[in-house]
């Protein structure tokens, strides 16, 4: 990987600066690491995937023959003899958003070359992601035990089960992939791969703390998508 030389580069602010950068040679986004630019564009593409899912969901929900189930009843939890709507999902959302915070801190400590703090914070993020996936698995098994399936649903329209399992499953896959990478990156941080600029196992490119920021972008994106899924499934 090639490193941008930001020192000595004059960046003008505002629209004028953007026009200058666009019109200049070599790079469009001055001082931006290749991998970081790639992650942004990948996320743009991924946004289109989730948008297609959610728009299909809206269309599907709008055209079913049977009524859509009441979200606060279906997703409610029975705790200590009281029916609490959206309890589990509130905790899940809280955990995921907290993990975004630890991720942001990990990026900060990474750039400060504070290997220990960075590593622990990545681990904390990974654990947050694991808790999220675990709670999602719990919610899935609860719904399944109540008879909700991708093809049928005792509470109303069968499309509820189809869209719920598909979209939360697709998001959960994103989270799981993120968790796997977080554990790998935590190991690499503790082992000093970024400080020593050790070459990657597959890509054979030199390691750099910017990789943590790139993974962070992905993690924040997964978090942001969850906010939309949460709003569309649980609050609508």
């Amino acid at each position: 990987m090639s490193d941008p030389k930001i020192d000595g580069l004059e960046l003008k602010p505002g629209f004028k600066g953007m026009a200058d950068d666009t019109g200049s040679d070599q790079t469009m986004f001055k001082g931006v690491h290749w991998g970081k630019a790639m992650m942004w564009i990948f996320l743009l593409s991924d946004t289109f995937i989730f948008s297609c899912f959610l728009i299909s969901y809206m269309k599907g929900r709008g055209s079913t023959l049977v009524d859509w189930p009441n979200a606060s009843e279906v997703f409610g939890l029975h705790v200590f003899g009281v029916e609490v709507p959206l309890l589990l999902i509130a905790i899940m959302t809280f955990v995921l958003i907290t993990s975004s915070g630890t991720m942001a801190l990990a990026v900060k400590y990474g750039y400060e070359k504070n290997r220990k703090m960075c590593g622990w914070l990545i681990l904390a993020t990974a654990v947050g992601g694991l808790i999220f996936v675990g709670m999602q698995a719990f919610e899935w098994s609860k719904l399944i035990s109540e008879g909700v399936r991708p093809w049928e649903n005792p509470f109303g329209a069968p499309q509820f089960g189809s869209f719920f399992f598909m979209i939360t499953g697709f998001h959960g896959t994103h989270v799981s992939i993120g968790v796997i990478f977080l554990f790998i990156y935590a190991y690499k941080t503790f082992a000093g791969h970024y400080d020593d600029r050790k070459r990657g196992w597959f890509t054979s490119m030199k390691g750099d703390y910017v990789e943590i920021e790139i993974l962070g972008l992905y993690w924040h994106f997964v978090d942001l998508v969850w906010v939309f899924i949460f709003a569309f499934f649980y609050l609508w």
Binding site: Q26, M28, W34, M38, I41, L44, Q159
Partner: protein, 615 residues
């Protein structure tokens, strides 16, 4: 690289002052006027393969990956060609192929369409030409993520494998038409409704995943890895075309991915995303409440940009070929760039013109007809610019130029029938007739294919170091050009008399009596055109060893890919020093210049006194 960086920054302030003050006195030195901003990025770190496997199989060199894409796409394209032969055999001479049942026919139609659009044209333009040309043309050592690039090709390889495997599963490949419309795609009675469609969806998902990895490479290489002096507006139009097409692909393939995934779930798990309540053979199926139109929207939100994913690289490449072989700068370069970008943007707002007869709200048709016709404006601009580029050019009427001229004619032809079909009231009677078949084969089949052929004859000397044989090339061109018109011109007429597309046989319908001779003629032409393509394959195999050696820059072109220290270029492309770019790639026949071309790396101090002194 870093030494140079420091040297240049030393006198940066001084030189910019002199130029901006506008005094322009005779005191300016060569190094002043040749000044190019220092490198922003350190030189790329490359993995060099050592064994046969890392050099030629699991290779990270974009050029090798490009050739791999090219060969595999060509291989699938030949399969698509053979399928079209079988279809034409049935249509021209019903019953001549004894094994051909209606089911087989539908399967061949479907696989021919999907293979040609996705696995042949898209993979060839973006995977093949994109990989080979982008790093060379923007002056990079390689794609920015070589490992990801390698994985991209091997995903494509697996996708092709899964696709071809569907020929050998129970029930055979899907026969639902390349648009895969539900509900019939997964209902019994449609060939391949079980395994066939499943493998098709899996293959498409793999293709999209692989393409995303490649596409990220193409985009970031263009945006972030250009060489010193290479601004966006100095890039060859080829790069602009491939770049914009990749942007479209990154935003359009998600819709296909989602559609394929939901289709798979409907098929395997029995969900009802796309499946309404259906009675089949007197029995109500489990499905209920889904929307088949939703699939059509998802499919065409991918499908229409897909047309431009194929067309835009063709536009870009043909612009460069025309400019080089008529020894003139491309007319209206900026206009061409903005037309490419504009067509790309508009292509996301026209998708429902494929759905005028789907039963969607008629007001949609009004909107989409309008946006569709607006696309004619940037497209027509491009056609005029090609023609004005040719006008009074010093035209070399070689094989490359023949293909370019063939492209312009064919594209205009297909474009005009597109205006017919873009209008709702004209489209409705012509919908699902052979007129549509003729239109899209002209505009996105034959036309881009002609550009591919031209590009092969043009860049073969770079890839292989030898010229392709011109005589064979001329046979190839004239057989293909005349043959393609013999196939598709009569098809327009078939459409007008109402012959429906996708029909296995016309039996004794009135269509058949008036169309039978024409169908025979079309089939004969199709056999000849198909066979003519093997001339190219023969030509390539023959010239690889015995062709006329090309040497460096045989066409006297300006763009960077011809200026590598060795031909064919080696891994890393540029030897020790990256090229420095001083101008756009279209300085041909500049008054006052020594030769009729000025390469992109020629510094201004070398062309003092010519009309392009200041660029």
């Amino acid at each position: 690289m870093s030494d140079e960086y420091e040297n240049k920054t030393g006198y940066q302030a001084q030189s910019s002052e002199t130029i901006s003050s506008g005094s322009g006195g005779g005191s300016r030195t060569a190094s002043d006027i040749d000044y190019v901003r220092p490198a922003e990025v350190t030189d790329q770190d490359l993995y060099h393969g050592h064994s046969f496997i890392t050099k030629w199989v699991f290779c990270q060199d974009a050029k090798v990956i490009g050739v791999q894409y090219f060969l595999l796409a060509t291989f699938t394209g030949v399969i698509g060609l053979i399928l079209s032969w079988l279809m034409r055999l049935q249509l021209g001479f019903p019953g001549a192929a004894g094994f051909m049942t209606a089911e087989h026919y539908y399967q061949f139609v479907t696989m021919h369409g999907m293979i040609m659009v996705v696995y042949f044209l898209t993979a060839l333009f973006l995977g093949g030409f994109g990989n080979y040309l982008i790093p060379l043309m923007v002056g990079a050592r390689d794609m920015v993520f070589p490992y990801l690039n390698m994985v991209s090709f091997w995903s494509f390889f697996v996708a092709v494998g899964v696709l071809l495997a569907s020929f050998f599963v129970p029930g055979g490949p899907t026969g639902a038409g390349w648009t895969l419309y539900p509900p019939q795609t997964i209902l019994e009675g449609t060939p391949g409704s079980g395994w066939g469609i499943l493998l098709m969806c899996i293959s498409l998902i793999l293709f999209v995943a692989g393409f995303t990895m490649g596409g990220l490479n193409y985009l970031i290489t263009v945006l972030q890895a250009r060489t010193r002096g290479m601004t966006l507006m100095r890039m060859p139009l080829t790069v602009w075309g491939i770049f914009t097409a990749t942007v479209l692909a990154m935003l359009a393939f998600p819709a296909l991915l989602v559609g394929a995934l939901m289709m798979t779930l409907d098929n395997v798990l029995g969900t009802s995303f796309f499946m309404p309540t259906i009675i089949q053979a007197g029995e109500i199926l489990e499905y209920s409440g889904g929307s088949p139109i939703l699939f059509q929207h998802l499919f065409w939100f991918f499908g229409h940009p897909e047309v431009y994913i194929v067309a835009l690289p063709a536009f870009g490449i043909v612009s460069d070929l025309i400019s080089v072989h008529s020894r003139k700068n491309i007319f209206g370069y900026r206009m061409m760039v903005w037309a490419i970008v504009g067509i790309g943007g508009l292509s996301f707002f026209v998708w429902a013109h494929h759905m005028y007869v789907s039963g969607m709200n008629p007001w949609f048709g009004f909107f989409f007809a309008t946006t569709t016709l607006i696309i004619a404006i940037p497209t027509a601009m491009k056609v005029y610019n090609w023609i004005i580029t040719l006008w009074r050019g010093n035209i070399r009427l070689n094989v490359v130029m023949l293909w370019c001229l063939g492209f312009i004619v064919t594209f205009v032809n297909g474009g005009i029938t597109g205006i017919f079909l873009g209008n709702v009231s004209v489209d409705v009677p012509l919908s699902d007739t052979y007129f549509v078949v003729a239109h899209f084969h002209m505009v996105m089949g034959i036309a881009p294919l002609m550009v591919i052929m031209g590009a092969v004859y043009h860049w073969f000397p770079l890839v292989a170091g030898r010229f392709l044989n011109e005589t064979l090339g001329k046979w190839h061109f004239w057989l293909t050009f005349l043959g393609a018109y013999s196939i598709y011109f009569p098809m327009h007429y078939l459409g007008f008399i109402g012959v429906p597309r996708r029909y296995f046989e016309m039996y004794d319908s009135p269509y058949m009596t008036s169309a039978v001779g024409m169908n025979e003629f079309i089939s004969m032409a199709a056999f000849i055109v198909g066979a003519a393509q093997f001339i190219l394959i023969f030509n390539i195999i023959k010239t690889l060893k015995t062709g006329k050696p090309a040497g460096s820059n045989p066409w006297k072109a300006n763009s960077l890919e011809w200026l590598t220290p060795s031909v064919p270029p080696e891994h890393g492309n540029w030897g020790d020093k990256l090229p420095v770019v001083h101008r756009w790639p279209y300085d041909f026949n500049v008054p006052g210049a020594k030769e009729d071309f000025i390469t992109q790396t020629t510094p201004p101090s070398d062309v003092v006194g010519t009309e392009v002194e200041k660029t």
